[in-house]
Every structure is written in C-alpha cells, then in structure tokens.
Point group: C5
Chain length 342, copies 5
Amino acid sequence: MVSFVCISQMKFDKEGNVTSFEKKKTELCQELSLQTRDLRFQHHTSLTARNNCIIIRMETLRAVVTPQCLLVLDFRGLGLERWLVLELAHQLASHTNPLPFEFRALEAILQHRVSALQARLNEVHPVILDTLESLVDPKLLSADRTKLHVLLQNSKSLSELETDIRVFKDSMLKILDEDEIIEELCLTKWTDPRVLEESSLGIDHAEEMELLLENYYMQAEELGNDTRELKGLIDDSESVIFINLDSHRNVMMRLNLQLTMGTFSLSLFGLMGVAFGMNLMSSFEEDPRVFWLVTGFMFLGSGLIWRRLLSFLGRHLEPTSPPPVAHAHTRTITFLFRNSSS
Amino acid sequence: MVSFVCISQMKFDKEGNVTSFEKKKTELCQELSLQTRDLRFQHHTSLTARNNCIIIRMETLRAVVTPQCLLVLDFRGLGLERWLVLELAHQLASHTNPLPFEFRALEAILQHRVSALQARLNEVHPVILDTLESLVDPKLLSADRTKLHVLLQNSKSLSELETDIRVFKDSMLKILDEDEIIEELCLTKWTDPRVLEESSLGIDHAEEMELLLENYYMQAEELGNDTRELKGLIDDSESVIFINLDSHRNVMMRLNLQLTMGTFSLSLFGLMGVAFGMNLMSSFEEDPRVFWLVTGFMFLGSGLIWRRLLSFLGRHLEPTSPPPVAHAHTRTITFLFRNSSS
Amino acid sequence: MVSFVCISQMKFDKEGNVTSFEKKKTELCQELSLQTRDLRFQHHTSLTARNNCIIIRMETLRAVVTPQCLLVLDFRGLGLERWLVLELAHQLASHTNPLPFEFRALEAILQHRVSALQARLNEVHPVILDTLESLVDPKLLSADRTKLHVLLQNSKSLSELETDIRVFKDSMLKILDEDEIIEELCLTKWTDPRVLEESSLGIDHAEEMELLLENYYMQAEELGNDTRELKGLIDDSESVIFINLDSHRNVMMRLNLQLTMGTFSLSLFGLMGVAFGMNLMSSFEEDPRVFWLVTGFMFLGSGLIWRRLLSFLGRHLEPTSPPPVAHAHTRTITFLFRNSSS
Amino acid sequence: MVSFVCISQMKFDKEGNVTSFEKKKTELCQELSLQTRDLRFQHHTSLTARNNCIIIRMETLRAVVTPQCLLVLDFRGLGLERWLVLELAHQLASHTNPLPFEFRALEAILQHRVSALQARLNEVHPVILDTLESLVDPKLLSADRTKLHVLLQNSKSLSELETDIRVFKDSMLKILDEDEIIEELCLTKWTDPRVLEESSLGIDHAEEMELLLENYYMQAEELGNDTRELKGLIDDSESVIFINLDSHRNVMMRLNLQLTMGTFSLSLFGLMGVAFGMNLMSSFEEDPRVFWLVTGFMFLGSGLIWRRLLSFLGRHLEPTSPPPVAHAHTRTITFLFRNSSS
Amino acid sequence: MVSFVCISQMKFDKEGNVTSFEKKKTELCQELSLQTRDLRFQHHTSLTARNNCIIIRMETLRAVVTPQCLLVLDFRGLGLERWLVLELAHQLASHTNPLPFEFRALEAILQHRVSALQARLNEVHPVILDTLESLVDPKLLSADRTKLHVLLQNSKSLSELETDIRVFKDSMLKILDEDEIIEELCLTKWTDPRVLEESSLGIDHAEEMELLLENYYMQAEELGNDTRELKGLIDDSESVIFINLDSHRNVMMRLNLQLTMGTFSLSLFGLMGVAFGMNLMSSFEEDPRVFWLVTGFMFLGSGLIWRRLLSFLGRHLEPTSPPPVAHAHTRTITFLFRNSSS
C-alpha cells in the first residue's frame, strides 16, 4: 500500500543538472530494477549496494546512487534543501575529480554526514567546557544549579552523538571488512567497459573506494576520540567538584567547631556569673574587689579555655607527629584535662 | 518420561489455516524426524536448524518451522493467544511476500520478539526520564524516596532488558557469522527443486535470509544503543543529584555558621551583662548613665563582632587572593585570636 | 617422586559398575598410555584430550574419561562422594542415551559443574537481594552495619563466582573454537569402527559433541548474565543508599538550622533581659508597666525575628519558582511555629 | 660503541655445568650468529626466536637459549644469583624430563617469571585484605589514615602487577596465536636429525611447546583473575567505608539535633527566668509561691517542648510507616529523656 | 587551487646532504608520481605506502620517504627545526645500519614520535604524582584548590596523551596486521635488484620492517600501560581523598557533638541559676549555705550529665563488640570526664 504513495525526489545528474519531482515508489523501483523492500530505509544509518545501485540512509538523508545520477528521496522538511541546492549540486558537477560519478556522490554524502556529526560536537563542546570551568571554580561554595542542568542536557546530547558516531563507524567498518561489498560499490566498473582499460593504467576502483571509505571512517574515529575525551573530562571535573564541595564543608565545619568551642567556654564561665547573680547570700556582696575579680576571671577563663580547645583541635586534626597515633592521642587528652581543671 | 506428556500445539499452514491440538512429544518428533533432545528448548533464546526444520525459542514462544507449516508449542497461558490468532495467522497467509513460507514465519517471529523488547523499553523509558527529571530538580533539598525506589526498580528492569537484547543480538550474530547455518535455514531451497531454478533468475535464498536476520540484528542493536544511553543518563543524573544535595548542604551550613557567629557574639557580650547582674559591688550602681552605656555597648559590640566574623567568613571561603594560602591562614588565626582575647 | 604416591580412584564402567581402589600414579599412566605430566591437573578448570583419553578438572573434581570407563581421581574428602555414588553411577548407566559412553560421562561432569555454579549463585542471590532491600529502605537514617558486612561478603563470593563462570566459559569456548579438539574428544569415533558406519546413518559425533559443549557453554553464559545483573543491582542500590543518607542529612540539617535560628532569636532578645537584670540604674525600676512591656517585647521580638529567618531560609533554599514546594514548606514551618509558640 | 663493552654472562650447559665469564657483546653475537640488534632487549617482557636461538627478557632476566646451553646475560646485581646458582642449574641438569634442552630452559625461566609474579601478589594480597578489614570495621568513626596510605600504596603495586601479568600474558598469547613462531622455538627439531625420527614415534615438539607455553599462560591468567578480584574487593570495600562514614555522620547529626532541640527549649523557657531577673517591677516579688510556680514552669515547659520536638523529629525522619523503627526509636528517645530529666 | 601554493620542504638524502627549498605542491606530486590527494595529510597520524613512496604524518610532522631521500614538508614554525638539523640529518647519514635508506628514515621518524609521546608523559607524570601525594596527605582538612586545578589540567593532558598513544598504536597495528602493506613499505626491495640477491643471503626486508614497526608498537604499548596505571592511581587517590575528608568531618562532628552536649548540660543547670536570679521570693535568700549548695550543684550537675551524655555517645557510636576499640574509647571518655568534673 505504502508503495503507491508518491515520494518527492531530487535528481542530480553527472552534468550538474538538478530536477525535482514526485513519483510513485513502485515506479521508482521498476526504473532502478530494485525491489520495494530495498527502499524501506529501516535503519538509521545504512549504506548498501543492490543491483548496481548504492542505497544510502544517513539519519534524515535517503539517497540512491546510480552510475549516472544521484536521487535524494523524501527531501522536503528535513532542513536539507539549503545543502542540496547550494552545495551538493556544485560538488557533484565538479570535473576536477577524475573518479566516476558514484565516487563523487558517495564522497559528498559521507562528507555531509561527518560534517553534521562534527557540527553537533562543535555545538556541545564549548558549552560543556564553559559549564565545567565555572562549576569547577574553587571559590564556589555550592554548585550553580542552572549550570548543572545545562551540563546534564549536554552530557545527554554527547551520549547521543557518541552513539551516532559509533553507528556510523560500524557501518563503514562492516563494508571495509568485506572486499566483496567494496567491489559492489564501484558501480561504474561493472557497467562501463572503458573503466577496465583505465584500471590497467593505474587506478584501481576498489582500492580508491576503500581509501574513500577509510578516510571517512578515520574522521569519525577522530570525532569519537574527541567525544570520549570530553566524557572523561566531565567525569574528572565531577570528582573535583565533589572534592571542592567537601573541602568547603570541612572548612566551614572547622570554623563552626571553633565558634562552638568559644560558646562553650563562655557558657562555662558564664555559669559563674549566673551563680553570683542568684538572689542568694555569697558573703562577698560587700567586697568591692570581688566584682572585678570574678568578672576578670570569667572573661580570662573563657578566653584561656577557648584558646586551649582551639590548640587541642589544631593538634587533633593534624596527627602526623612521629610518635604512634594512639600515644599522641592519650597525650592530647591529658592536655585537655589539665586545661579544664585549671 | 517427559516425552509421553501431551503438549498443546497450534499449527499455521501456508494457506493461513490455523488448527490447534494436543499431541505427544514423541509423536511430534517422529513426524518431524527430529530427536526428542532437539525439542528440549533449554535456552532462553535460540534459533537452530535441525533436519530441515527451524527450531526457535524466544523467551516464552517455542516454535518449529517446516517448509509447509509453523508449529507453536506449549502456547497456552503465555499471553500469546491474542497475537497468535489476530496477527500471526494473517501475517503468514499474506501472499505479497514472494519468498518461501519459512521466511515469512521467521520474519513474523523475529518481528514479534523485537517488538516485545521494544515494548519493554517503551515501558521503562518514560518512567525513568520522568523520575530522573523530578529527582534532578535543583529546588529539592532532599531526594524523594518513593521516586528513588521507582528508579531502582526501573534500573533493574533496564538491566534485564539489556541482557535480553544482548542475548538476542548474540544469537543472531552467531548465525550471521556462519554461512553454513544460514544455508541450513533456507529450508525450501533443499526441498523444492523449483527454487533452484528461480534462484538462477535472481533471488538468492541465502542472501535474502542474511538480509532478514541482519535487519532484526540491527533493530536489536538500535534498541541496545537506546538502553545504553538511558543507563548513561541515569549515571549522569545521579552525579547531578549528589552535587545538588551537597550544594544544598553547603548553603545551609553557611547559614548555620553565620547564625552560630551571631550567637557567639551575643554570648560574648551577654557575659558583660551577666557580670553586671551579679550581686557584687561594681561601684557603678548609682550612676544612671552606666546602664545605657553598658547596654549600648553590649548590643553594638555584638553587632560589630558579628559583622567582623561574617566578613571573615566571606573572605575565608573565597581564598583566591594572591598571597600564599599558608600565610593567609596564620593571619586569620591571629586575627581570630585577637578577637577572642579582647 | 610424587608419582609413586598412591592415589584413590573410583571407576565407573559402561554397565554401571562402580569400583573404588588405590593405585600408583605411574601405573595409572602406563595403563592409559599417558605421561605423568598429563595427570598433573595444574589448572583450576581444564578439559583436554590426550592419547584417546579426556582429562578433566573441574575445581575439585579430577577425572579421566576413556571410551570404556570414567575414572575419578583423588575423590576423597571433597564432598563429592554423595554425588558420585547416588547420581553419577546412575547417570552413566542409563541406556536411553544412544550416544557413546564418553558423551554420557562428559555430560554428567559438565552438568555437575554447571549445577555447582548455579548452586553458588542460588546461595548468594537471595541474600544479596534481601540485604539490598533492607539497606535501600528509605526510612533508615543510617545503614545497618551488619547488613553492610553481609553485603560485602556476598559481593566477594559473587566476584569469585563470576571468575569461575568466566573460566568455565573460556575453557568451553577454546574447545568450540577449534574443530580439531572437538574431533579428538569423540573418543569412540577413533576406536570403534562401527561408529563410522553409524555416522553415515545420520549421527555425526563431532556435531553432537559441539552441541553438547555449546549447551553447557550457554548455560554458563546465562549464569554469567545473572551475576552481571546482580552486580549492576548492587551498584545501583549503593547509589540509592548514598542518596538516601544524604537526603536524611539534608533534612536534619534544615531542622537544625531552623532551631539554630530560634536559639539565635532568643539570645538576641534575651540580651535585653540580661541588660535589665544588671544591677545598674535604668530609671524604669519603679514603673510597673515596663516589666510587662519588656517581657512581651522579648518574647514577641524573638518570635518575629525567628519567623523572618525561617521565611528567609525558605526562600534561600528554593531560589527558583515560589509556588508548589515553597507553599508546602511554609506550612510545615507555621506548623512548627504553632508548636513552639503554644 | 656499546657493543665493545664487556657483559657478564653465566652459561648453563646440558650436563649441568655452570661457568661465568665476561665477554664482548660483539663476540657473543658472532658466536651465536646473531646481530647486535637482536640482543638489545628493548622491551620489558619478550620472547623471540632468532637464528636458532631463543632470546628472552623477563623484567631483569636477560637470557639466550641455544640447543646446547642457556646464557644468562648481565646477571649481576639483580638479586638473581641465588636462584641461578641454587635452582636453575639443578633444574636444567635434571634428566627426568625427556624433552630437549631448550624446553627445560624455557620452562625454568617461565616458571621463575610466574613465581615472581605470584610472589608479588602474595605480598600485597594479605596486606590489602588486612587493611580493608580494619578499614571496613563499622565501629570506626573515621578511617585510619595510615591504613589508607598503606591501602593506596598497595593498590598501586597491584596495578603495576596487573600490568606485568597482562604483558606476560600478551607475549605468551602472541606466540600461541602463530604456529610458525612455536615451530621456531623448537630449536632441537631443526638442528638434530634424530628428533625427526623420535617425532614419528609419538612426541611432537611443536605440540609440546604449545602445551608448555599454554600452561604458563593459564597460570598467569589465574594470577590475573586473582588481581582482578582483589581490585573488585577494594572497590566494594570503599563503598562500604563510605556508607559507614555516612551512617556514623547521620547518627551523630541526629544526636546533635536532639540536643539542639533541648538547648532551644531551655533557651525559650530560660527567657522567662531572665525576664523575672530584670530589675523591673512585676508585682509578683512578694508572693512566695510564684518562685516555685515559675521555676517549675520553666523546667517542665522546656521538658515538654523538647519532647514535642523530639517526637516531631521522629515523625519527620520516618515519613512512611509508623510501626517498627519509629517505635524502637521513640524508646531510645524516652531513654534519653529519662536520663536528662533525672 | 591549494596545489599551486608553494610549500617549504627539507630534503635529506642518503649521503647526509640537507637542502631546504620551496616548491609547488603540483610539481612535487609530478616528481614523485603521486596524486595531489595523496599529500593531503588529512589524519592526525598516518603511515601509508603509495607508488613506491612512504607518506607519513605524525601530528605536526609531514614527510615523504623515497628510496633515495626523505622530504619533510611544511616544516617551518613547528618547533621541529632543531631536531631536523641536529639529529635527523646525522641519524640518516649513519652507515652503521646495513638496512636500506627507507628503514633508517622510518626508524628516525617513529623514534621521534615515540620520544615525543614519552616526553609528554614525562611532563605530566611527576606533576600528577606530586599533586596526588600532597592531596592525599591525611593532615589536610580540606583539599588545596590550586592543587585540584593542577590535577584536573594534567588529567586532561593525560587523556589526550592516551588518545594519541592509542591512535599511534592503532596505525602501527593496522600495518602489522596486513603483510601486504609491510611489503609495500620495503621500497628498496622493489626498485633495487641487488636487494633480492642480498635477501637470499639472509636478510628478509619484510621481516625486518615488521620487527621495526613492532618495536615501536611495543614501546607505545608500554607508554599506554604507564598512562593507564597513572589514571588508576588518580582514581584510587581520589577515593582516599574522599575518605580522608569524610573522616575529618566525622572527627570534627564528634568533637562538636561533645561540646554541644557540654553546652546543653550547662544550659540545663544554668536554668537553675537563672531561676534563683529571678526577683522572686525563694525563702532561701538569707541562708548563706544555699549559695554554695546551688552553685556546687549547678557545676557538678552539668559535669555529671555531660559525662552521661558522652558515655551514651560512646556506646551509641560503637554498637557491636565491647572489647578492643570501645575499651580504649571509654577510657578517653573517662579522661575527658575527669577533666570536666574536676
């Protein structure tokens, strides 16, 4: 049923002529001696040779390459028009490339695919670097949540890009691993007798095809390396962010502990003042020196005990001194003891 | 012993007739010239050719394909009835597919398997995305525990799905790697002499079989890519959740520290009030201005020292200024000390 | 020297007779035309064919299979007696299996090995699931340390099991990858001329051997998948445990902060009371309304400033959209407030 | 230039004679018909056959095996003397092994290498297990830093060991994968015509060589499995350490929160006392019952509000099902309460 | 168009003469019978043989090797001049190497590449070790942020280095896997008839080429192992840093909790003093002993309740076995207690 539906097509021939029309899928199949099944384009990324045609799908781009022309199918509404009209036609018509038409067509399409992948990497790469740089900033007490959100979004895009690069590499590799398929991709070799003569003059089509595919395979490989490095950088940065946040927390906790020590000292000696504030007879009520004595003792005492606690904390947190740890510990305890009993 | 037990069977023939009956396993084996061992279906997922039959198990579905018919064994109570009756019979009888019966049967079964895997992914995918989105929400101070539970359950389902997809892919790949097995799967080729003639007219059965299996392999591959991306997203989101929780903690800790500073300041200067509250002679009792002086000093002093502590904290947490850290540190300590000893 | 030591042996022949005796290793070697080196059983898991014998070691089980009998060596003290006497003899003597003796012996041993691996998985699997379920429980403020210990012990067992499964799979795969070794394992084929005739009647020994080994390879593969899933579940659960603990911590920290705010407010306004408590002249001493004024001001002031701090905290922690959570939050705060002011 | 330098050599011949001397590298090369380049020993681990010699480097051990003798080069100062003199000579001279000299030499060297690797594992294994056991101890509030340091050092050693094992395995595997190299390693086969006759009598040199190498490959594989398991155990233990530390923190934080609640309650009702302590007229000054009333109210009120806060906390932290944990919890709280109110 | 641009070239011939000049790319291609496409140097690292030339790109170095000379293209501004002039010329002219010119040229270039990779590792290796050592220092309460930044930078460099090493290894491996390409790289073999004669005398060019490439492959492999170990060390150290920070936090939290307990005790008994400080009649006003009684009770009571809380904490944190640690601990607590109560 589906095969009676008209599909839009744009046709690029060897001379650089571009025509665009609608045709039934069945007619197209008959014309190219293909089966409708061959034009189902079920997989996201595929490149196969069937009956002297190369059938390509690269994400949204669906194309059929014959020795004479390139047909782009269902090209509307995919944002490809600009590239098709401005670049592809020009590229296919260039006569500087001595290789047959199918090489030029394949090269143009693979180039377009790799460029698209590269463009996606170029989009997320600076955003991730920027976001990481600002998140890793050691001055920040807490991570900026909007930045985290941006990072998460871009990590997701990066994962998707990684998958697409891998799928592209796998489909190239599958062809490169089988010489038979490479031979099939050299359409002109089978149709054009002159080629065989040329071939004896030095250019081996299959070898050229292998070089062409390998070139794009390696470009994808380089893209894959870049994404992997970027993922690694995200992981490393996250560790640093955690260490930063933990460090800040420890610093604040030490400050907090130091102040708690102060408050404790003040409470301890304040209790003395509270005691003398009771409406009870202490027999010192009339001695004018006692006020100053007790007041001074309260302030000095709090200060001294705080100082002692701080130095205790200082020693407690840096337990590196040569004597074994257990030993050092009991010593700190006796110190503390002498403090509080003074 | 087990072989004397009757097993329910549903038989689909080329013409679309469906019959369902019970038969002893031994009889079935004799009829198909198979050994009882061949119908043990020991592995979760398997696809083998034995004696001009294709024996398939896909999780709950056990089937035998012959050039003339498809037998589904033990089909009761597996929730397959709906599919068997409504879809499978229709699919097998369709004459639009020019390929022999075993191709149609295999395609129907593999399609069913891949659809089942896809359905499981479709079930967990949105739940995981939703749960992650709500867990990653930076406004949340603490993670919603019911959401965590949902996430854990779905991660587990995802892992199981990943295993099943991998097992399916491996069983396809094992066949695709051995041309011999592919040949064996083309049942009609060996039984029907007309096929060999046809084959010379253009359709190569083995090649068609390879395409068929490869198609489902690649669909499973795409499913596998999706599950891997989803797992990656869970990992990335967990990192973000941790950073969020840590950030919240740091923010609260800073607020807490600021208030502890305030309480400390109030305690420090409150000690003065406590001192004057003692029932001891300070000789200022009669001077009416001293009350206001001391009260003002207490409030102002607390305020000033708090302000000082806050600005100290501000500087302490952003230690980017050029002087070396160790130096800055000793200074902060002496500063702190001057405070406490004053 | 070692070869003069007697080793205990249990012999199972084709008819199901079991004899057990002691024999010198050298004698055994001569009898089987093996070299002493062949019976060193150096590796944990091995399966090799040497001079028309199959030499097997599966962890504690050391065995030699000949076309006529199965010798289990050094069988004492390994906990194997029960299996040897009760199951193995019975299995080997069963005449339902039309295949030669070495197939039955190999099947029994491999079956025993896979069952042992399965048993180990069955042992750790429910313990790990139980432990994880109780550790993941979001109600728990802190992880139960005995449960953690159990988890660690079982993770270790799981890792060891994973290694053993992999080693078993690798040893199977090594054989499956080399047709030559499979041929060598079919002992009867080389010794019994009738077999070659039979073989022409339909049963190919090598193919049967491949099926047999592949069967156990796939069973081990399924075990391996289960262990991997279990490991994945442990990892996922640990993440959830961490998020749970962190969430609890954040909730407690917020409560703590709210109370610190309260204490601060009380300290601030308490300072006023302390001021009036000083034995200094404030000139309000005689006015009876001032007592109530100041007391009311202290309590009300503390309450108001606390409320202000709480709402500040509320806004501070939810810096984005005010509506949903913030609202729920202020409600909990007002509830808290009603408690404390009652 | 380097080739004119004398290098120390120790020569072991078939009869067990050991001689040690110095010789120029060039002379050595001429003698063995090797090129100087062949004796550069550039890689850490290598085993190659060149011109009817086997050239081996296993970390510090550099050796050349000929059909007649084993030359150990540069043997001084490597701690090898003990092994060379006490063990190697003995091993090479043993005539119990019917295989040619190069087999004995290779076996001795590979055995030495695998033993060295095993010894390194035996060294780190118990240290890591001990350290982990003490670090994982749930009673510990904080990790012992010296233990952490020991763990880090041993993890590093383990990584290095893992690399060395992998390098050894790879070099064995490279040889095992190419039958040609195995043939080249059987030196005697090419030089001694009698061997070919023997070979027809049953012993195939190449097969024996393969068995020999495979044996050490598998021993290294087992070592590799052990290191991998140990690494896994370190990772699992670290997770448990983190959960332990987090749990301790949460428990302490709850205790802290409970005390903060107490302090808050005391502050709140203490404010009342402060109010009555002011030198202002409350008109209750003369009523003797008011003192007890207010004092009682202060203590009771603090207690009640604390209790309320504690039960609020209890409910807040267990927001799901009230029965099991909450109950146990309130018991600990009432216990605490009984303490503090006694 | 690009091909009309002049490119700078430095030519090294067999005799060690070095000339440097500018030439159009097209001329160069004609001279070497190459196609312009062959000199595009699209990939970061490549080594191919085309039409009896070896075309090499190693990052910035672009070179063409012919049987007679080595051409380095575009050599300006890459920091290569020093190496080209001082080392390369000398290395190529050395006649100690009996192998043809292309071997010397290839060796020099690969040596240069591996040295460059090694130099990069040598640069980051000590920095990372130093940074980790100072970060892992258990004395540090918080991680030094500048050190973290240095670590992150160097981790990034390490990742990039890892990628480059892998790319180099892959390009070597690709050649080593195909004997055909190795043959093509032996330029002299095809051009110089004398070589074939020599070859019969013992030196096989292809084998020598394989050894040469394998040598650099293995050097890169060793570099790769070093980077992997370094990455592992970073991961392990980060775990230790986290455990350290967590431990410090727990220690501080315990100290804080102990002080909070003290402050709570003082508040509780201070409330008594506050009560007696109220201007209300307690009927004890005139009894001189009551002052000392209440004061003593306040101090003693605070001390006792603090002791109780501390021992409660001690028990709470070590809930398992009493003997070893708990004992040591209660001792520290009683110490502490004696402090506070004295």
